[in-house]
């Protein structure tokens, strides 16, 4: 009996360890405001993504944040915002880069000397501005994250895009990167509901 208990505990431990290693995404509201915050956790604890980045395979994270309003029959989707992160490692320089892609904007490239620095940046809660409701009602945000790797061709295009050779912020590979890729992993999260104005 004791052996069964030990085995069960061991299995539970294994399961919980495995669960802890899965990438997660969180969508929360900032304290005292209706501003959403997005957090991606354990990305590099997941062996498939850790190995991909170690092997210099670029990783793409496609985010889609939707604002929903409670309605009688079904919820109303008020707006939908997309952005993407592309994480890559330049093996020779031993530098990690995080590129933020937003439609119509110049890409933002951040560089990190170690994976740990990059992990801290990725796991920091990311406040999202300019997406809030402009009317009264009960609302919430839903977040969809698709994670995939970039093929060699896509990465070549992506590098050219970064260097301004593929049509600027809105078109070409930039727009393609903002579209949800066929993800290897797809995660969703929702914030708590909040009310704006006196009448829900």
């Amino acid at each position: 009996m004791r052996r069964f208990l030990a085995l069960a505990l061991l299995l539970l431990g294994a399961v919980s360890t495995a669960a802890a290693q899965r990438v997660r995404v969180e969508a929360t509201l900032e304290n005292g405001t209706n501003r959403p915050r997005v957090r991606t956790i354990n990305l590099f604890d997941d062996p498939q993504w850790r190995e991909a980045i170690a092997s210099s395979y670029p990783i793409r994270l496609n985010y889609q944040l939707d604002l929903w309003r409670s309605r009688f029959l079904f919820a109303e989707n008020l707006n939908s915002r997309k952005w993407a992160f592309v994480i890559s490692r330049q093996a020779v320089l031993d530098v990690y880069t995080l590129t933020t892609i937003i439609a119509g904007r110049e890409p933002i490239v951040e560089r990190f000397a170690s994976l740990n620095d990059l992990r801290l940046r990725i796991e920091m809660p990311l406040p999202i501005s300019g997406v809030g409701p402009s009317r009264d009602g009960t609302f919430w945000y839903s977040l969809k994250l698709g994670i995939s790797t970039l093929s060699a061709d896509e990465f070549s295009e992506f590098e050219r895009y970064l260097q301004g050779n593929s049509g600027g912020g809105g078109g070409g590979i930039g727009a393609a990167l903002l579209r949800m890729a066929l993800p290897k992993e797809s995660l969703v999260a929702e914030t708590a509901r909040f009310t704006v104005g006196g009448r829900p």
């Binding site: 933002i108 990190f112 920091m124 406040p127």
Partner: protein, 569 residues
């Protein structure tokens, strides 16, 4: 959070290790940047870089290179396409073309460091004696086979992959030679299209475009109803600014599809080439006209045109198809030959989040056409289909409408609704090439091709022409992404099913003859809903293609299976 992580986090926030340009966070309230303001590498810098690189005394390397600690390079060093890590010492200047350089804490460069198409990273302790010049934009330079650095012609865009093209630039003129297979059909075979597109960039605000396309038809026509060669062209002035506008002339001698066009162009071409099923009818058109396009907002587009055309019947020929080569092609129906003057206007509102795979937003397209003719030779149709047509003083007003709503119901599900229709509004009856039908598969997946085509003759035309005055259809579909991954990666290519969409749909629609008389629907009404055809079905859309099964609700039609290489709508 442990103290160590807190210290690391604070360090990151206060002084990010390697230049985080923006504070953490995403602000969608900021206006979009003007991408045209990207900093280009000045011509003088490119010229200097080429001179340095091509100088015989320069040491040239390419690819990923490391200079280890304790090693010394002397003289000017140049790297093309790659990454350079300097742990050692460079006594001289350093030039990197389309690559990055990192000078580590032990690295020293006594001269200047110039990076075109990349970035310079200097760690704490790293030394650069001279100037640091950095242009992240790709340097438009390339190597010749003998290793000289020269200017590069502009690169093709991603959308050009379906056609072969080559672009040459001379001063402000950009010439693109293009070749495209066109859409396969039973009248032309492959209409091979080729020709130049010349763009004169007059200034930042305007450009002049001349497109000339020659067409070679691969299938021979023993009836000589059309020529082997065709052409089309366009001369236009484009003006940028807050409301981009294009005005121009257009013309051509082409084989054009009639108004009734089930399926997308690519599906029609594939059906004809592979299965000997050409879902469109064709006529020969020679035309010349003027047009104007105006973009009022990124989501709102208006256009108008006036065209004079000569239109006439062409025959289906014995074009090749991969399968069913022994079957005869469906004949190409007669059209009303004549010389037409067409005034057209269209408006498009498109607020969809993604044009390829939309999940939210509106799409509205409306076209109105006023067609006149003083030289008309109409084909004979029975009175119960069309009243007698004049041979001069002909005029008719018609319109098309396509209204769609994409409504997201959740992160993985959405509801799509479409109202589509078109046809006669006023004036004389429509010519055959402008008439409609209610088509199976697209939009009604549960029915066959031109299930309602208004051909009331005792012996219907085997060409199955679309002969209705009006057509209207409603489509509703619910999509849910399935968390299903049946794929594997072979090299860089993913093969298999990845998160397909389950599609549950219903369609209803009809086509009818308008006017007074038996079997016609009064002009100011639509056909009674009770007489509409309807179907329900289910499908699986994997992105590149979708498979569907549908059943007609009222008619004893068999269950129909369909394969689409584009979205239903």
């Amino acid at each position: 959070m442990t103290p160590t992580r807190l210290v690391l986090l604070a360090t990151l926030m206060l002084a990010p290790p390697l230049a985080a340009q923006d504070p953490v966070g995403i602000d969608f309230s900021r206006p979009a940047a003007d991408s045209s303001r990207r900093r280009e590498i000045p011509d003088s810098v490119l010229v200097r870089a080429m001179a340095h690189y091509n100088d015989p005394s320069t040491t040239r390397v390419s690819g990923n290179v490391e200079l280890p600690l304790g090693n010394v390079w002397r003289g000017t060093q140049a790297l093309h396409r790659g990454q350079l890590r300097i742990d050692g010492r460079v006594e001289g200047d350093l030039l990197v073309i389309n690559g990055d350089v990192r000078i580590t804490g032990s690295g020293v460069v006594t001269g200047s460091v110039t990076v075109l198409g990349g970035r310079i990273l200097v760690d704490g302790g790293g030394t650069v004696g001279g100037a640091q010049v950095e242009y992240p934009e790709t340097a438009p330079l390339t190597l010749t086979p003998d290793g000289r650095l020269i200017r590069q012609a502009p690169r093709r865009s991603l959308t050009d992959f379906t056609s072969a093209s080559r672009t040459f630039t001379w001063r402000n003129f950009e010439t693109t030679l293009r070749a495209d297979p066109g859409s396969y059909n039973r009248v032309e075979g492959f209409p091979l299209e080729f020709g130049p597109s010349i763009v004169w960039h007059r200034n930042e605000q305007s450009r002049l475009i001349l497109d000339l396309v020659g067409i070679v038809r691969t299938a021979s026509d023993p009836t000589e109803s059309r020529r082997t060669l065709g052409w089309r062209g366009r001369l236009a002035v484009m003006r940028n600014g807050q409301h981009p506008m294009t005005i121009g002339l257009r013309g051509g001698s082409v084989i054009a599809p009639v108004a009734d066009q089930p399926y997308q162009t690519i599906e029609s071409g594939l059906g004809a080439f592979l299965l000997r099923r050409d879902w469109r009818d064709w006529y020969a058109m020679r035309s010349i006209g003027v047009f104007a396009d105006l973009t009022l907002r990124p989501t709102l587009h208006l256009s108008a045109g006036v065209d004079q055309s000569r239109e006439r019947t062409v025959s289906a020929v014995d074009a090749f198809s991969l399968l069913r080569g022994n079957e005869a092609w469906r004949p190409n129906p007669l059209v009303d030959d004549g010389k037409y003057l067409t005034f057209s206007a269209s408006a498009t509102l498109d607020t969809r989040d993604d044009r390829r795979r939309p999940t939210s937003g509106w799409y509205l397209r409306s076209d109105v056409r006023y067609v006149t003719s003083d030289e008309l030779t109409p084909a004979t149709l029975p009175q119960e289909i069309r009243t007698a047509m004049p041979t001069s003083n002909y005029d008719a007003l018609e319109m098309d409408l396509d209204l769609r709503r994409y409504q997201r119901l959740g992160p993985e599900q959405s509801l799509h609704v479409r109202l589509t229709g078109g046809g006669w509004l006023a004036g004389n009856r429509l010519t055959i090439q402008r008439r409609r039908a209610m088509n199976g598969t697209d939009p009604l997946a549960g029915y066959g091709f031109r299930f309602v085509n208004c051909d009331r003759r005792r012996r219907p035309d085997p060409a199955l022409p679309a002969l209705c005055d009006r057509q209207l259809a409603v489509q509703v579909e619910y999509r849910r992404t399935l968390d299903l991954n049946l794929s594997s990666r072979i090299g860089n290519t993913t093969v298999g099913l990845q998160r397909p969409d389950l599609v549950i749909f219903g369609d209803a629609g009809s086509a009818w003859l308008a006017g007074s008389g038996a079997g016609r629907v009064p002009s100011n009404r639509i056909q009674s809903i009770a007489e509409w055809r309807s179907d329900i079905g289910v499908g699986l859309d994997v992105g590149t293609f979708g498979v569907y099964v549908a059943k007609a609700l009222a008619d004893p039609e068999p269950i129909r299976f369909g394969l689409r290489v584009t979205r239903r709508f």
